[in-house]
Structure formats: structure tokens, C-alpha cells
């Protein structure tokens, strides 16, 4: 299995390292050619406005949308979650998300950087709490049909997903704990389920 990490901007190196430490091959994805080499994709944390623009400037929007339609498993963290959402609140008016998962996301929902925090959170399916890092983090305000909630903070949804898409408000790649990455690796591509 080859995992790609979208490397337009943001914390892509930390994600690559997280997969490598799990013994999984991971590469940086900047072009449609890179995308063709991988089985699943991570959209990392970073600045969602910047990543959103670079998707267009680097000609990556349509190829990624095609991969999503084809059932490729996708994992979005923080800005990646915003980029994958159906709707974005408190974003820029021209911020175009990929509309890959039926969720409404609010940006910077906990406040400014001084309000950024660490917390041990309970995650559905994990025996022990997960040490999570929230940085100017977004939250999921509403979810559509078929979206399952895996974790909340202050009753707000911070980890959820469908069969092939996983999105997190926080940064499992900064935690030295591979369990959320393993959750993503266990997702099956949609096509393989018939």
C-alpha cells in the first residue's frame, strides 16, 4: 500500500513520518502524476485558504475529486477537514471546498492561537484516550446521512467519517501515537466493497 500526503502547504512531512513509523510507504503528492501512484491520500493541516487556492493553481482539484469519486480513501486533518467539507463557515467567501463529505465545518471554532490546546479525548473504537493537539482548530457543526461521529470535545464533533473518508479537527500526526492513522489505513477503498 502506498499513501500519498498532499504537499502543497502545511504539515505534510509530519504525516509522512507518521506513516513511515507504522511501516507504511508514504510519499509527497504535488502533481496529478504523483496522485496516480498512490492508493490513498491525506490532506494535511496547514492554512485551508492557501491549500484551497493551491489546489487550483497546481491543477490538483479535479484529479483529487476524481480519485474521491473512484472511492480512494481520504484522510483530512484540520485544514484538510475544511478542504474536504461540503460547507465551510467563517471562511473566505471564495473558499471552495471539495464537497467530499456531507459535513458543515466552522473554522477557528475554539478561538485564536492562544486558545489552542492539548486534550486527551475518547475515541470510539479505541480503548485508551487519544492525546490530541488542537491548533486554531475547526469543528464539525452538522453532519449529513452516512457520517459517523468518532469523537467530541465540549460536545462538538472533532472526529468523524464515512466508509472511505476520515476527518479530524486535530493533529494526530503531532502526537507520536499512530492509532488514528491506523484507523485510516484500515478503511477499504469503496470499489473493493462492490
Amino acid at each position: 500500500m502506498k499513501v500519498g500526503v498532499l504537499a502543497l502547504q502545511g504539515a505534510y512531512v509530519s504525516h509522512v513520518q507518521a506513516f513511515v513509523s507504522l511501516g507504511v510507504e508514504a510519499l509527497e503528492v504535488r502533481t496529478p502524476e504523483d496522485l496516480a501512484k498512490i492508493d490513498r491520500l491525506v490532506i494535511p493541516g496547514g492554512e485551508s485558504t492557501t491549500i484551497s487556492m493551491l489546489l487550483d493553481w497546481n491543477g490538483m482539484r479535479a484529479p483529487i475529486q476524481e480519485s474521491i469519486s473512484a472511492g480512494m480513501p481520504i484522510f483530512g486533518t484540520c485544514a484538510g477537514m475544511i478542504v474536504l467539507a461540503k460547507e465551510v463557515l467563517d471562511g473566505r467567501d471564495d473558499q471552495k471546498p471539495l464537497e467530499a463529505i456531507d459535513i458543515t465545518v466552522r473554522r477557528n471554532a475554539f478561538g485564536r492561537q492562544v486558545d489552542s490546546f492539548e486534550s486527551e479525548i475518547d475515541v470510539l473504537g479505541l480503548d485508551e484516550p487519544f492525546p490530541s493537539v488542537f491548533i486554531r482548530a475547526p469543528i464539525v457543526e452538522t453532519i449529513g446521512e452516512g457520517v459517523k461521529v468518532f469523537a467530541r470535545v465540549d460536545e462538538k464533533i472533532v472526529l468523524c467519517g464515512t466508509d472511505s473518508i476520515l476527518v479530524a479537527s486535530f493533529h494526530p500526526e503531532l502526537s507520536n501515537d499512530g492509532r488514528i492513522h491506523e484507523m485510516f489505513l484500515s478503511m477499504e477503498p469503496l470499489g473493493s466493497q462492490g
Binding site: R112, Q113, V114, F117, L124, I135
Partner: protein, 300 residues
């Protein structure tokens, strides 16, 4: 799922949270802006953050006098119009200015040599703050001293306000070259390295073992073109600060966007070539032998 009183279990201002924001800015461009309008232009061009200040370094250099923290009203005006992080500068050692910036809710404080130093011996004790700090460095020892004081991001200083990339290259090569040399040193030699660098031994040992700084390392000071950005990224910078280089150029908007694209695609010269076309004149710039004040010498 357990819904305990979760507010008690949230910890703010941790090293992970402070260094984490710097992680999120990697591969991006942080732009100096002096008005809300410029901040909008920067955000529209794909900046990952803006640095709010009263005058860009080229003007500080030209005007002379004392350069201080910006007017809070101006910083708030910029915070209102952009959704990306807003940084602001405090004078070296001026912890009260830093306290004001923290109270304003800026996302990062730059304890910066571009402003006139307030203390000729001491930098700010940055551990005392919840807001993260970035500091400049010209060499590895300076970088490690700033990290030991609590800096969560290092930027190589370059020479701000010159449009001349030569010092940025010198400082990057000095810092990264010494990190490579540390990796070759044996354990006994590291004691001498710590002495030579005037840096704490545990940090020297950490850098020697992991082969990089414990915080993100960005580049600043003199970047004026997309190729400048590609150059410093290839040398090992993890993101780029552009000060005077954008708003002192002939046509700031396309230049800002081009520098963003070159920073993302720094390993692809064909893209850097494409975005470098027809940008109008860059800032004129000045040679190192023409300048009277070397901002890079500020910091101890």
C-alpha cells in the same frame, strides 16, 4: 462516549501547541503588511500568515529613528479583515510589548531585530507566555539560545529591507551546515561544540542526534523574487517570510502569488519559470556595502 467536564482537561500554551502552529505554516509564505488592504492582498495571494507592522523594513531603514511595536488599532484592523494567522513584532527584550501583543490575541510574536532593541543583553523569557514566539538567528548558537529562551520557530535573519538574498543564504548555510557537522561529532566533541556555540548542551545533543532544530526553521530577510524563494527552500528553509519584497515592488499582487507558487513548487524549475514571467520590477534593493545599519547584528 464519556462526556466529562472536558474544559478541565484542555491545556493551552503547551510546547506542542506553540510549535504546532509553526508546523502548519510550513511550505508557505508569511508576508509583511502595513494596512488591512495589504493584508487582504496577501491573503488573496495565498499567504499562510501576515506580519502586521507599521513600516516595512525598507522604510524603517530609510526613515531611521526608533522602530517600535505597531499601534494596536492597526493590528486589530488587520485581524478583522483576514482569516489567516496574524503575527506582530515586539522589540528584542521588550516583554511589555509582547504582553500587549498577547493581550491583543496575535497568533505569533516576532521578537525582531527589525525593530530597535529595548534590551542590549537580554531577550524576552518566552516561556512566560502562552502566545508562541519566532526569533531570528544568524548562526546555530544564536538559534539554540533563542530556543532555550522558549522560541517555537526560528527564522534565519538575512538582512531585512535590502531585497538582497545574500545574507539569507549565508545564515541558512551557516545554521544548516553546522547542524550537519554536529551530526558527525562524537559525544566528547559535543561538549566543545556547546562551548563554541554558547548554547545549552542538551539542545546541542538533541540537534546532533536528530539532525535538525527542535522547532521549524524558516527563512527571512532579502527575498524579493520567486526564484529567491525557491533558492532558500532548496537550501533547507521550511517556509519563507517576505517583508519589503512584495509591497515595495512595482506590482505587489502578482508577485505575492508568484512567490507563493514558487515556494510550493520549489523543486520544479519549470513552474518557477512560469510564475516569474511579467511580474514588473522587483524592489530595487541595496548591496551589503551600501547599508549603514546591519539589523542582523542585533540579538545576543
Amino acid at each position: 462516549m464519556a462526556e466529562e467536564n472536558i474544559d478541565d482537561s484542555k491545556t493551552t500554551g503547551t510546547v506542542k501547541v506553540k510549535r504546532g502552529l509553526a508546523e502548519m505554516l510550513k511550505g508557505g509564505v508569511i508576508m509583511d503588511v502595513v494596512t488591512p488592504d495589504q493584508a487582504k492582498i496577501a491573503e488573496d495571494a495565498g499567504a499562510v500568515a501576515v506580519m502586521a507592522l507599521e513600516r516595512v523594513p525598507a522604510d524603517i531603514r530609510a526613515d531611521g529613528g526608533i522602530a517600535r511595536m505597531s499601534d494596536p488599532e492597526m493590528i486589530e484592523g488587520i485581524q478583522e479583515v483576514v482569516t489567516i494567522p496574524v503575527m506582530a513584532k515586539a522589540r528584542i527584550g521588550h516583554f511589555a510589548e509582547a504582553q500587549v501583543l498577547e493581550a491583543l490575541g496575535v497568533d505569533y510574536v516576532d521578537e525582531s531585530e527589525v525593530l530597535t532593541p529595548a534590551d542590549e543583553k537580554h531577550h524576552i523569557d518566552k516561556w512566560a507566555f502562552e502566545v508562541p514566539f519566532v526569533c531570528g538567528a544568524t548562526n546555530l548558537g544564536e538559534a539554540l539560545r533563542r530556543i532555550s529562551e522558549g522560541a517555537c520557530m526560528i527564522r534565519s535573519k538575512g538582512e531585512a529591507g535590502t531585497g538582497n538574498v545574500v545574507q539569507a543564504v549565508r545564515h541558512l548555510r551557516t545554521i544548516l551546515g553546522d547542524i550537519r557537522k554536529l551530526g558527525q561529532a562524537d559525544s566528547a566533541e559535543l561538549f566543545d561544540w556547546a562551548k563554541e556555540l554558547q548554547a545549552p548542551l542538551p539542545l546541542v545533543q538533541e540537534v546532533a542526534s536528530v539532525g535538525k532544530l527542535p522547532v521549524p526553521m524558516f527563512c527571512a530577510g532579502g527575498i524579493a523574487t520567486p526564484a529567491d524563494a525557491a533558492l532558500v527552500m532548496q537550501l533547507g528553509a521550511e517556509a519563507v517570510f517576505v517583508g519589503s519584497g512584495i509591497f515595495k515592488s512595482e506590482d505587489p499582487e502578482p508577485r505575492a502569488k508568484a512567490i507563493v507558487e514558487a515556494t510550493t513548487n520549489f523543486t520544479r524549475p519549470e513552474i518557477v519559470a512560469k510564475v516569474s514571467r511579467g511580474l514588473g520590477g522587483p524592489m530595487t534593493g541595496i548591496g551589503m556595502d551600501e547599508i549603514q545599519i546591519r539589523l542582523e547584528d542585533r540579538g545576543w
